[in-house]
Symmetry: C2
Subunit: 283 residues, 2 copies
Protein backbone atom coordinates (compact mmCIF):
# COMPACT_ATOMS: atom_id res chain seq x y z
CA UNK A 1 0.00 0.00 0.00
CA UNK A 2 1.68 3.15 -1.24
CA UNK A 3 0.80 6.69 -0.14
CA UNK A 4 0.47 8.84 -3.26
CA UNK A 5 -0.67 12.14 -1.73
CA UNK A 6 -1.89 13.72 1.45
CA UNK A 7 -3.53 17.00 2.36
CA UNK A 8 -4.35 18.26 5.80
CA UNK A 9 -8.08 18.92 6.04
CA UNK A 10 -10.09 20.12 9.03
CA UNK A 11 -7.40 19.00 11.46
CA UNK A 12 -7.29 15.51 9.94
CA UNK A 13 -5.70 14.07 6.83
CA UNK A 14 -7.02 13.31 3.38
CA UNK A 15 -4.79 10.63 1.89
CA UNK A 16 -4.71 8.73 -1.39
CA UNK A 17 -3.20 5.25 -1.58
CA UNK A 18 -2.48 2.73 -4.31
CA UNK A 19 -2.20 -1.02 -3.89
CA UNK A 20 -2.14 -4.16 -6.00
CA UNK A 21 -5.56 -5.77 -5.63
CA UNK A 22 -6.07 -9.53 -5.81
CA UNK A 23 -9.77 -9.31 -6.59
CA UNK A 24 -9.49 -6.87 -9.48
CA UNK A 25 -5.99 -7.93 -10.59
CA UNK A 26 -4.79 -4.38 -11.06
CA UNK A 27 -3.47 -1.35 -9.21
CA UNK A 28 -6.36 0.24 -7.31
CA UNK A 29 -6.43 3.78 -5.95
CA UNK A 30 -8.50 4.77 -2.95
CA UNK A 31 -8.87 7.81 -0.71
CA UNK A 32 -9.30 8.01 3.03
CA UNK A 33 -10.12 10.84 5.38
CA UNK A 34 -8.72 10.30 8.86
CA UNK A 35 -9.96 12.65 11.58
CA UNK A 36 -7.56 14.07 14.15
CA UNK A 37 -8.24 11.32 16.70
CA UNK A 38 -7.07 8.67 14.25
CA UNK A 39 -3.80 10.55 13.75
CA UNK A 40 -3.31 10.77 17.51
CA UNK A 41 -3.34 7.02 18.13
CA UNK A 42 -7.03 6.16 18.40
CA UNK A 43 -8.87 3.77 16.10
CA UNK A 44 -12.03 5.17 14.58
CA UNK A 45 -15.01 3.62 12.78
CA UNK A 46 -15.39 4.00 9.02
CA UNK A 47 -18.02 5.17 6.60
CA UNK A 48 -17.40 3.55 3.21
CA UNK A 49 -18.51 5.82 0.38
CA UNK A 50 -19.17 4.43 -3.10
CA UNK A 51 -19.19 6.95 -5.95
CA UNK A 52 -21.20 7.14 -9.15
CA UNK A 53 -20.63 6.53 -12.85
CA UNK A 54 -17.53 8.31 -14.29
CA UNK A 55 -16.18 9.11 -10.80
CA UNK A 56 -12.89 8.14 -9.19
CA UNK A 57 -11.89 8.23 -5.53
CA UNK A 58 -11.57 12.02 -5.83
CA UNK A 59 -15.05 13.39 -6.58
CA UNK A 60 -16.62 12.83 -3.19
CA UNK A 61 -13.55 13.97 -1.27
CA UNK A 62 -13.27 17.20 -3.27
CA UNK A 63 -16.92 18.12 -3.67
CA UNK A 64 -19.12 16.80 -0.87
CA UNK A 65 -17.75 18.85 2.01
CA UNK A 66 -17.86 15.76 4.23
CA UNK A 67 -14.55 16.25 6.02
CA UNK A 68 -15.81 19.07 8.23
CA UNK A 69 -18.49 16.87 9.78
CA UNK A 70 -16.38 13.69 9.81
CA UNK A 71 -13.71 15.67 11.69
CA UNK A 72 -16.23 16.81 14.25
CA UNK A 73 -17.75 13.33 14.66
CA UNK A 74 -14.43 11.48 14.71
CA UNK A 75 -15.18 9.04 11.91
CA UNK A 76 -13.04 8.02 8.95
CA UNK A 77 -14.32 7.96 5.36
CA UNK A 78 -12.95 5.54 2.78
CA UNK A 79 -13.66 6.12 -0.94
CA UNK A 80 -12.69 3.39 -3.40
CA UNK A 81 -12.48 3.93 -7.13
CA UNK A 82 -15.52 2.98 -9.23
CA UNK A 83 -13.90 0.30 -11.41
CA UNK A 84 -10.62 -1.45 -12.07
CA UNK A 85 -8.17 0.66 -14.09
CA UNK A 86 -5.07 0.13 -16.18
CA UNK A 87 -3.74 -0.91 -19.56
CA UNK A 88 -4.98 -4.49 -19.35
CA UNK A 89 -8.46 -3.68 -18.06
CA UNK A 90 -11.35 -4.10 -20.53
CA UNK A 91 -13.04 -0.94 -21.77
CA UNK A 92 -16.38 -0.46 -23.50
CA UNK A 93 -15.81 -0.83 -27.26
CA UNK A 94 -18.61 1.69 -27.79
CA UNK A 95 -16.94 4.18 -25.47
CA UNK A 96 -20.00 4.77 -23.28
CA UNK A 97 -19.49 6.09 -19.73
CA UNK A 98 -22.09 3.56 -18.53
CA UNK A 99 -19.92 0.46 -19.06
CA UNK A 100 -16.27 -0.27 -18.38
CA UNK A 101 -13.91 2.23 -16.75
CA UNK A 102 -15.70 4.22 -14.08
CA UNK A 103 -18.68 1.90 -14.33
CA UNK A 104 -18.06 -1.26 -12.33
CA UNK A 105 -21.54 -1.36 -10.71
CA UNK A 106 -19.95 -2.91 -7.61
CA UNK A 107 -20.63 -6.43 -8.86
CA UNK A 108 -18.55 -9.49 -9.73
CA UNK A 109 -18.55 -9.92 -13.51
CA UNK A 110 -18.90 -13.47 -14.84
CA UNK A 111 -18.41 -12.77 -18.55
CA UNK A 112 -15.21 -12.15 -20.48
CA UNK A 113 -13.47 -9.85 -21.10
CA UNK A 114 -14.88 -8.28 -17.91
CA UNK A 115 -14.54 -11.10 -15.39
CA UNK A 116 -10.74 -10.84 -15.24
CA UNK A 117 -10.83 -7.46 -13.46
CA UNK A 118 -14.40 -6.35 -12.77
CA UNK A 119 -14.73 -7.97 -9.35
CA UNK A 120 -15.76 -4.81 -7.58
CA UNK A 121 -18.24 -6.48 -5.24
CA UNK A 122 -15.50 -8.52 -3.62
CA UNK A 123 -13.13 -5.59 -3.73
CA UNK A 124 -15.35 -3.12 -1.86
CA UNK A 125 -16.97 -5.73 0.42
CA UNK A 126 -13.84 -7.57 1.49
CA UNK A 127 -10.44 -6.78 0.05
CA UNK A 128 -10.45 -3.03 0.64
CA UNK A 129 -11.91 -3.16 4.18
CA UNK A 130 -9.47 -5.94 5.09
CA UNK A 131 -6.57 -3.81 3.87
CA UNK A 132 -7.77 -0.61 5.50
CA UNK A 133 -8.46 -2.37 8.81
CA UNK A 134 -5.01 -3.97 8.78
CA UNK A 135 -3.01 -0.89 7.82
CA UNK A 136 -4.84 2.22 9.02
CA UNK A 137 -6.05 3.36 12.45
CA UNK A 138 -9.64 2.23 11.95
CA UNK A 139 -11.92 -0.32 13.60
CA UNK A 140 -14.06 -3.01 12.02
CA UNK A 141 -17.15 -0.92 12.77
CA UNK A 142 -18.50 0.07 9.35
CA UNK A 143 -21.27 1.96 7.67
CA UNK A 144 -21.85 2.41 3.97
CA UNK A 145 -23.29 5.04 1.65
CA UNK A 146 -22.94 6.24 -1.91
CA UNK A 147 -24.30 8.28 -4.78
CA UNK A 148 -26.12 7.11 -7.93
CA UNK A 149 -24.31 3.94 -9.11
CA UNK A 150 -22.59 4.11 -5.71
CA UNK A 151 -25.94 4.33 -3.98
CA UNK A 152 -26.85 1.11 -5.78
CA UNK A 153 -23.50 -0.26 -4.61
CA UNK A 154 -24.15 0.66 -0.99
CA UNK A 155 -27.59 -0.97 -1.11
CA UNK A 156 -26.47 -4.26 -2.61
CA UNK A 157 -23.22 -4.52 -0.64
CA UNK A 158 -25.08 -4.04 2.65
CA UNK A 159 -27.96 -6.33 1.65
CA UNK A 160 -25.61 -9.12 0.61
CA UNK A 161 -23.44 -8.81 3.73
CA UNK A 162 -25.84 -9.08 6.67
CA UNK A 163 -24.37 -7.98 9.97
CA UNK A 164 -21.40 -6.28 8.39
CA UNK A 165 -22.61 -2.65 8.41
CA UNK A 166 -24.07 -0.62 11.24
CA UNK A 167 -26.04 1.66 8.93
CA UNK A 168 -26.85 2.23 5.27
CA UNK A 169 -27.80 5.26 3.25
CA UNK A 170 -27.75 6.47 -0.33
CA UNK A 171 -28.08 9.61 -2.43
CA UNK A 172 -30.10 9.23 -5.63
CA UNK A 173 -29.33 5.51 -5.87
CA UNK A 174 -29.95 3.34 -8.92
CA UNK A 175 -32.54 1.18 -7.17
CA UNK A 176 -33.63 -1.25 -9.84
CA UNK A 177 -30.93 -1.56 -12.52
CA UNK A 178 -32.39 -4.71 -14.10
CA UNK A 179 -35.87 -3.19 -14.60
CA UNK A 180 -37.24 -4.39 -17.92
CA UNK A 181 -39.76 -1.59 -18.23
CA UNK A 182 -37.01 0.92 -18.95
CA UNK A 183 -35.32 -1.04 -21.69
CA UNK A 184 -32.23 0.67 -23.02
CA UNK A 185 -33.01 3.81 -20.99
CA UNK A 186 -31.96 1.99 -17.84
CA UNK A 187 -28.47 2.41 -16.58
CA UNK A 188 -27.52 -1.08 -16.01
CA UNK A 189 -29.32 -3.27 -18.53
CA UNK A 190 -26.65 -3.03 -21.21
CA UNK A 191 -23.88 -3.15 -18.59
CA UNK A 192 -25.48 -6.03 -16.68
CA UNK A 193 -25.85 -8.01 -19.93
CA UNK A 194 -22.17 -7.44 -20.70
CA UNK A 195 -20.90 -8.15 -17.17
CA UNK A 196 -23.29 -10.93 -16.12
CA UNK A 197 -24.52 -12.44 -19.39
CA UNK A 198 -27.96 -12.59 -21.00
CA UNK A 199 -29.74 -14.61 -18.27
CA UNK A 200 -31.62 -11.86 -16.46
CA UNK A 201 -32.32 -13.98 -13.40
CA UNK A 202 -28.59 -13.65 -12.63
CA UNK A 203 -28.92 -9.87 -12.62
CA UNK A 204 -31.27 -10.00 -9.63
CA UNK A 205 -28.34 -10.87 -7.40
CA UNK A 206 -27.20 -7.25 -7.81
CA UNK A 207 -30.53 -5.43 -7.89
CA UNK A 208 -31.80 -3.87 -4.65
CA UNK A 209 -35.47 -4.17 -5.58
CA UNK A 210 -35.02 -7.86 -6.34
CA UNK A 211 -32.84 -8.52 -3.29
CA UNK A 212 -34.88 -6.81 -0.62
CA UNK A 213 -37.60 -9.49 -0.41
CA UNK A 214 -35.37 -12.22 0.95
CA UNK A 215 -33.01 -10.59 3.44
CA UNK A 216 -32.07 -12.09 6.82
CA UNK A 217 -31.27 -8.60 8.18
CA UNK A 218 -33.61 -5.62 7.98
CA UNK A 219 -31.03 -2.81 8.20
CA UNK A 220 -32.92 0.48 7.78
CA UNK A 221 -32.37 2.36 4.51
CA UNK A 222 -32.08 6.13 4.38
CA UNK A 223 -32.33 7.73 0.92
CA UNK A 224 -32.13 11.36 -0.20
CA UNK A 225 -33.35 12.05 -3.71
CA UNK A 226 -33.67 15.32 -5.65
CA UNK A 227 -37.11 15.92 -7.15
CA UNK A 228 -35.57 17.71 -10.17
CA UNK A 229 -33.08 14.95 -10.90
CA UNK A 230 -33.17 14.33 -14.68
CA UNK A 231 -32.46 10.68 -13.94
CA UNK A 232 -35.35 10.15 -11.56
CA UNK A 233 -37.29 7.81 -13.86
CA UNK A 234 -34.27 5.60 -14.32
CA UNK A 235 -33.25 5.60 -10.64
CA UNK A 236 -36.66 4.25 -9.55
CA UNK A 237 -36.66 5.01 -5.81
CA UNK A 238 -40.42 4.42 -5.74
CA UNK A 239 -39.89 0.82 -6.85
CA UNK A 240 -37.59 0.31 -3.85
CA UNK A 241 -40.07 1.98 -1.50
CA UNK A 242 -42.83 -0.31 -2.78
CA UNK A 243 -40.67 -3.42 -2.47
CA UNK A 244 -39.52 -2.40 1.02
CA UNK A 245 -43.05 -1.73 2.18
CA UNK A 246 -44.23 -5.04 0.75
CA UNK A 247 -41.79 -6.96 2.94
CA UNK A 248 -41.69 -4.66 5.96
CA UNK A 249 -38.14 -3.38 5.40
CA UNK A 250 -37.66 -0.03 7.17
CA UNK A 251 -36.95 2.72 4.64
CA UNK A 252 -36.99 6.53 4.60
CA UNK A 253 -37.02 8.53 1.39
CA UNK A 254 -36.36 12.25 1.69
CA UNK A 255 -37.56 13.77 -1.57
CA UNK A 256 -35.68 17.07 -1.85
CA UNK A 257 -37.67 19.65 -3.79
CA UNK A 258 -35.80 21.24 -6.68
CA UNK A 259 -32.49 19.41 -6.23
CA UNK A 260 -30.80 17.62 -9.12
CA UNK A 261 -28.25 14.80 -9.45
CA UNK A 262 -25.08 16.87 -8.96
CA UNK A 263 -22.65 16.98 -6.05
CA UNK A 264 -24.26 20.30 -5.09
CA UNK A 265 -27.19 18.12 -4.02
CA UNK A 266 -25.00 15.63 -2.16
CA UNK A 267 -23.14 18.46 -0.40
CA UNK A 268 -26.42 20.03 0.70
CA UNK A 269 -27.50 16.92 2.62
CA UNK A 270 -24.32 15.04 3.47
CA UNK A 271 -24.25 16.39 7.02
CA UNK A 272 -27.53 14.69 7.90
CA UNK A 273 -26.29 11.38 6.53
CA UNK A 274 -22.99 11.63 8.37
CA UNK A 275 -24.76 12.31 11.66
CA UNK A 276 -27.11 9.40 10.97
CA UNK A 277 -24.16 7.06 10.38
CA UNK A 278 -22.19 8.41 13.33
CA UNK A 279 -25.09 7.60 15.62
CA UNK A 280 -24.85 3.96 14.54
CA UNK A 281 -21.06 3.84 14.33
CA UNK A 282 -20.43 5.38 17.74
CA UNK A 283 -23.19 3.66 19.70
Amino acid sequence: MKLISENKSFGGMHRRYQHEADTTQCTMTFAVYLPRAALAGAKVPVLYWLSGLTCTDENFMQKAGAQRVAAELGIAIVCPDTSPRGENVAVDPEGSWALGLGAGYYLNATQEPWAANYQMFDYVSRELPDLVEAKLPVTKVRSISGHSMGGHGALIVAMKNPGRYRSLSAFAPICHPSAQSLGAASWGRRAFAALLGPDETKWHAYDAVALIKNLSERLPILIDQGSSDDALERLMPQALIAAANACGHPITLNMREGYDHAYYFVASFIEGHLRYHAKALLS
Copy 2:
Protein backbone atom coordinates in the same frame (compact mmCIF):
# COMPACT_ATOMS: atom_id res chain seq x y z
CA MET B 1 -26.14 37.50 -20.01
CA LYS B 2 -27.05 33.88 -20.66
CA LEU B 3 -27.75 31.26 -17.99
CA ILE B 4 -25.77 28.14 -18.85
CA SER B 5 -26.52 25.94 -15.83
CA GLU B 6 -28.05 25.98 -12.38
CA ASN B 7 -28.01 23.67 -9.40
CA LYS B 8 -29.95 24.01 -6.20
CA SER B 9 -27.53 24.12 -3.29
CA PHE B 10 -28.29 24.56 0.42
CA GLY B 11 -31.67 26.08 -0.32
CA GLY B 12 -30.17 28.62 -2.73
CA MET B 13 -28.98 28.44 -6.33
CA HIS B 14 -25.58 27.97 -7.90
CA ARG B 15 -25.73 29.44 -11.39
CA ARG B 16 -23.27 29.85 -14.24
CA TYR B 17 -23.66 32.66 -16.76
CA GLN B 18 -21.92 33.74 -19.94
CA HIS B 19 -21.78 37.24 -21.36
CA GLU B 20 -19.88 39.24 -23.96
CA ALA B 21 -17.40 41.39 -22.06
CA ASP B 22 -16.27 44.80 -23.33
CA THR B 23 -13.12 44.90 -21.24
CA THR B 24 -11.78 41.50 -22.27
CA GLN B 25 -13.39 41.45 -25.73
CA CYS B 26 -14.51 37.85 -25.41
CA THR B 27 -17.23 35.64 -23.96
CA MET B 28 -16.69 35.43 -20.21
CA THR B 29 -18.14 32.78 -17.89
CA PHE B 30 -18.83 33.42 -14.22
CA ALA B 31 -20.58 31.62 -11.38
CA VAL B 32 -22.81 32.99 -8.68
CA TYR B 33 -24.27 31.50 -5.53
CA LEU B 34 -27.54 33.14 -4.52
CA PRO B 35 -28.88 32.30 -1.06
CA ARG B 36 -32.55 31.64 -0.51
CA ALA B 37 -33.35 35.23 0.45
CA ALA B 38 -32.09 36.48 -2.92
CA LEU B 39 -34.44 34.05 -4.69
CA ALA B 40 -37.34 35.26 -2.59
CA GLY B 41 -37.13 38.89 -3.67
CA ALA B 42 -34.52 40.40 -1.34
CA LYS B 43 -31.24 41.93 -2.49
CA VAL B 44 -28.16 40.58 -0.75
CA PRO B 45 -24.54 41.76 -0.49
CA VAL B 46 -21.79 39.99 -2.43
CA LEU B 47 -18.46 38.39 -1.70
CA TYR B 48 -16.35 38.41 -4.88
CA TRP B 49 -14.01 35.43 -5.00
CA LEU B 50 -10.97 35.40 -7.29
CA SER B 51 -9.45 32.01 -8.05
CA GLY B 52 -5.89 30.88 -8.62
CA LEU B 53 -3.71 29.87 -11.56
CA THR B 54 -5.27 27.19 -13.83
CA CYS B 55 -8.73 27.63 -12.25
CA THR B 56 -12.02 28.61 -13.84
CA ASP B 57 -15.22 29.82 -12.19
CA GLU B 58 -15.88 26.23 -11.09
CA ASN B 59 -13.09 25.27 -8.68
CA PHE B 60 -14.14 27.36 -5.72
CA MET B 61 -17.83 26.61 -6.14
CA GLN B 62 -17.22 22.85 -6.30
CA LYS B 63 -14.47 22.46 -3.72
CA ALA B 64 -14.56 25.12 -1.02
CA GLY B 65 -17.82 24.18 0.67
CA ALA B 66 -18.72 27.86 0.90
CA GLN B 67 -22.40 27.60 -0.01
CA ARG B 68 -23.44 26.13 3.34
CA VAL B 69 -22.19 29.17 5.23
CA ALA B 70 -23.22 31.71 2.57
CA ALA B 71 -26.72 30.23 2.73
CA GLU B 72 -26.81 30.63 6.49
CA LEU B 73 -25.43 34.18 6.39
CA GLY B 74 -27.55 35.33 3.45
CA ILE B 75 -24.72 36.54 1.24
CA ALA B 76 -24.10 35.94 -2.46
CA ILE B 77 -20.76 34.78 -3.86
CA VAL B 78 -19.60 35.72 -7.36
CA CYS B 79 -16.68 33.84 -8.97
CA PRO B 80 -15.27 35.16 -12.24
CA ASP B 81 -13.00 33.18 -14.49
CA THR B 82 -9.23 33.69 -14.14
CA SER B 83 -8.49 34.97 -17.66
CA PRO B 84 -10.12 35.76 -20.98
CA ARG B 85 -10.87 32.66 -23.06
CA GLY B 86 -11.61 31.81 -26.65
CA GLU B 87 -10.12 31.19 -30.06
CA ASN B 88 -8.76 34.71 -30.52
CA VAL B 89 -7.26 35.05 -27.04
CA ALA B 90 -3.46 34.90 -26.81
CA VAL B 91 -1.93 31.83 -25.19
CA ASP B 92 1.56 31.27 -23.82
CA PRO B 93 3.72 30.00 -26.71
CA GLU B 94 5.70 27.98 -24.15
CA GLY B 95 2.50 26.38 -22.83
CA SER B 96 3.14 27.21 -19.18
CA TRP B 97 0.19 27.34 -16.80
CA ALA B 98 1.67 30.51 -15.30
CA LEU B 99 0.97 32.78 -18.30
CA GLY B 100 -2.00 33.11 -20.63
CA LEU B 101 -5.22 31.12 -20.22
CA GLY B 102 -6.06 30.66 -16.56
CA ALA B 103 -3.35 33.16 -15.62
CA GLY B 104 -4.62 36.70 -16.04
CA TYR B 105 -3.18 38.00 -12.73
CA TYR B 106 -6.15 40.37 -12.47
CA LEU B 107 -4.24 43.16 -14.19
CA ASN B 108 -4.65 45.25 -17.36
CA ALA B 109 -2.03 44.14 -19.88
CA THR B 110 -0.30 46.85 -21.87
CA GLN B 111 1.75 44.69 -24.26
CA GLU B 112 0.63 42.84 -27.37
CA PRO B 113 -0.61 40.23 -28.02
CA TRP B 114 -1.98 40.31 -24.47
CA ALA B 115 -3.46 43.79 -24.23
CA ALA B 116 -6.34 43.00 -26.59
CA ASN B 117 -8.05 40.68 -24.08
CA TYR B 118 -6.12 40.51 -20.80
CA GLN B 119 -7.92 43.39 -19.08
CA MET B 120 -8.89 41.39 -16.04
CA PHE B 121 -8.41 44.25 -13.56
CA ASP B 122 -11.12 46.30 -15.21
CA TYR B 123 -13.24 43.21 -15.70
CA VAL B 124 -13.31 42.08 -12.07
CA SER B 125 -13.24 45.60 -10.59
CA ARG B 126 -15.93 47.20 -12.76
CA GLU B 127 -17.54 45.36 -15.64
CA LEU B 128 -18.55 42.21 -13.78
CA PRO B 129 -19.86 43.95 -10.63
CA ASP B 130 -21.78 46.45 -12.81
CA LEU B 131 -23.39 43.56 -14.67
CA VAL B 132 -24.14 41.51 -11.58
CA GLU B 133 -25.59 44.51 -9.75
CA ALA B 134 -27.79 45.38 -12.73
CA LYS B 135 -29.09 41.90 -13.46
CA LEU B 136 -29.10 39.88 -10.23
CA PRO B 137 -30.74 40.41 -6.84
CA VAL B 138 -27.62 41.82 -5.16
CA THR B 139 -26.66 45.13 -3.61
CA LYS B 140 -23.60 47.29 -4.23
CA VAL B 141 -22.24 46.19 -0.85
CA ARG B 142 -19.12 44.18 -1.68
CA SER B 143 -16.29 42.24 -0.11
CA ILE B 144 -13.46 40.47 -1.86
CA SER B 145 -11.30 37.41 -1.29
CA GLY B 146 -9.36 34.86 -3.28
CA HIS B 147 -6.78 32.09 -3.36
CA SER B 148 -3.17 32.19 -4.56
CA MET B 149 -3.14 34.30 -7.77
CA GLY B 150 -6.69 35.21 -6.74
CA GLY B 151 -5.47 36.25 -3.30
CA HIS B 152 -3.08 38.59 -5.09
CA GLY B 153 -6.06 39.74 -7.17
CA ALA B 154 -8.17 40.44 -4.10
CA LEU B 155 -5.34 42.43 -2.50
CA ILE B 156 -4.61 44.63 -5.50
CA VAL B 157 -8.23 45.12 -6.56
CA ALA B 158 -9.19 46.27 -3.06
CA MET B 159 -6.06 48.43 -2.66
CA LYS B 160 -6.60 50.17 -5.99
CA ASN B 161 -10.31 50.77 -5.38
CA PRO B 162 -10.52 52.57 -2.04
CA GLY B 163 -13.99 52.65 -0.53
CA ARG B 164 -15.35 49.99 -2.86
CA TYR B 165 -15.09 46.92 -0.58
CA ARG B 166 -16.26 46.46 2.98
CA SER B 167 -13.67 43.78 3.75
CA LEU B 168 -10.70 41.97 2.23
CA SER B 169 -9.16 38.58 2.83
CA ALA B 170 -6.98 36.06 1.04
CA PHE B 171 -5.86 32.43 1.18
CA ALA B 172 -2.19 31.85 0.40
CA PRO B 173 -1.97 34.99 -1.75
CA ILE B 174 0.91 35.83 -4.08
CA CYS B 175 1.94 38.90 -2.11
CA HIS B 176 4.93 40.22 -4.01
CA PRO B 177 4.84 38.99 -7.61
CA SER B 178 7.48 41.42 -8.88
CA ALA B 179 10.07 40.46 -6.24
CA GLN B 180 13.48 40.41 -7.88
CA SER B 181 15.03 38.19 -5.25
CA LEU B 182 13.15 35.18 -6.55
CA GLY B 183 14.12 35.58 -10.19
CA ALA B 184 12.49 33.02 -12.41
CA ALA B 185 11.19 31.10 -9.39
CA SER B 186 8.60 33.82 -8.85
CA TRP B 187 5.16 33.39 -10.23
CA GLY B 188 4.66 36.63 -11.90
CA ARG B 189 8.02 37.89 -13.13
CA ARG B 190 7.85 36.18 -16.50
CA ALA B 191 4.11 36.86 -16.78
CA PHE B 192 4.45 40.48 -15.65
CA ALA B 193 7.22 41.04 -18.22
CA ALA B 194 4.99 39.64 -20.94
CA LEU B 195 1.82 41.45 -19.88
CA LEU B 196 3.30 44.78 -18.73
CA GLY B 197 6.63 45.04 -20.54
CA PRO B 198 10.22 45.13 -19.30
CA ASP B 199 9.99 48.31 -17.19
CA GLU B 200 9.67 46.85 -13.69
CA THR B 201 8.46 50.09 -12.16
CA LYS B 202 5.20 49.49 -14.06
CA TRP B 203 4.84 46.14 -12.32
CA HIS B 204 4.53 47.82 -8.93
CA ALA B 205 1.05 49.01 -9.85
CA TYR B 206 -0.08 45.38 -9.44
CA ASP B 207 2.07 44.25 -6.53
CA ALA B 208 0.54 44.33 -3.03
CA VAL B 209 3.87 44.84 -1.26
CA ALA B 210 4.66 47.80 -3.50
CA LEU B 211 1.15 49.27 -3.33
CA ILE B 212 0.53 49.10 0.40
CA LYS B 213 2.78 52.05 1.30
CA ASN B 214 0.69 54.69 -0.45
CA LEU B 215 -2.95 53.82 0.17
CA SER B 216 -5.63 56.35 1.05
CA GLU B 217 -7.71 53.63 2.75
CA ARG B 218 -6.38 51.24 5.38
CA LEU B 219 -8.85 48.36 4.89
CA PRO B 220 -7.73 45.53 7.22
CA ILE B 221 -6.24 42.45 5.54
CA LEU B 222 -6.99 38.93 6.75
CA ILE B 223 -4.74 36.15 5.41
CA ASP B 224 -4.73 32.41 6.00
CA GLN B 225 -1.60 30.59 4.90
CA GLY B 226 -0.61 26.92 5.20
CA SER B 227 2.78 26.34 6.82
CA SER B 228 3.39 23.27 4.61
CA ASP B 229 2.57 25.08 1.37
CA ASP B 230 5.27 24.16 -1.16
CA ALA B 231 4.86 27.62 -2.64
CA LEU B 232 5.44 29.52 0.60
CA GLU B 233 8.77 31.05 -0.46
CA ARG B 234 7.25 32.36 -3.66
CA LEU B 235 4.06 33.65 -2.06
CA MET B 236 6.01 35.87 0.39
CA PRO B 237 3.36 36.66 3.02
CA GLN B 238 6.12 37.83 5.37
CA ALA B 239 7.08 40.56 2.90
CA LEU B 240 3.50 41.84 3.02
CA ILE B 241 3.43 41.67 6.81
CA ALA B 242 6.64 43.68 6.97
CA ALA B 243 5.38 46.26 4.47
CA ALA B 244 2.04 46.54 6.28
CA ASN B 245 3.69 46.96 9.64
CA ALA B 246 6.05 49.60 8.24
CA CYS B 247 3.13 51.80 7.20
CA GLY B 248 0.65 50.91 9.94
CA HIS B 249 -1.73 48.94 7.73
CA PRO B 250 -3.82 46.51 9.82
CA ILE B 251 -3.08 42.92 8.84
CA THR B 252 -3.66 39.47 10.37
CA LEU B 253 -1.80 36.40 9.15
CA ASN B 254 -3.10 33.05 10.38
CA MET B 255 -0.29 30.57 9.76
CA ARG B 256 -2.00 27.17 9.63
CA GLU B 257 0.31 24.41 10.77
CA GLY B 258 0.64 21.52 8.32
CA TYR B 259 -1.76 22.82 5.67
CA ASP B 260 -0.72 23.00 2.02
CA HIS B 261 -1.88 25.01 -1.02
CA ALA B 262 -4.84 22.82 -2.03
CA TYR B 263 -8.55 23.47 -1.81
CA TYR B 264 -8.59 21.12 1.20
CA PHE B 265 -6.84 23.99 2.97
CA VAL B 266 -9.26 26.62 1.67
CA ALA B 267 -12.25 24.47 2.64
CA SER B 268 -10.88 24.01 6.15
CA PHE B 269 -10.87 27.75 6.85
CA ILE B 270 -13.44 29.28 4.50
CA GLU B 271 -16.10 29.45 7.21
CA GLY B 272 -14.04 31.86 9.29
CA HIS B 273 -13.47 34.12 6.29
CA LEU B 274 -17.14 34.07 5.31
CA ARG B 275 -18.18 35.05 8.82
CA TYR B 276 -15.54 37.79 8.81
CA HIS B 277 -16.88 39.19 5.54
CA ALA B 278 -20.51 38.83 6.59
CA LYS B 279 -19.84 40.95 9.67
CA ALA B 280 -18.68 43.76 7.37
CA LEU B 281 -21.26 43.17 4.64
CA LEU B 282 -24.26 43.02 6.95
CA SER B 283 -23.31 45.80 9.36
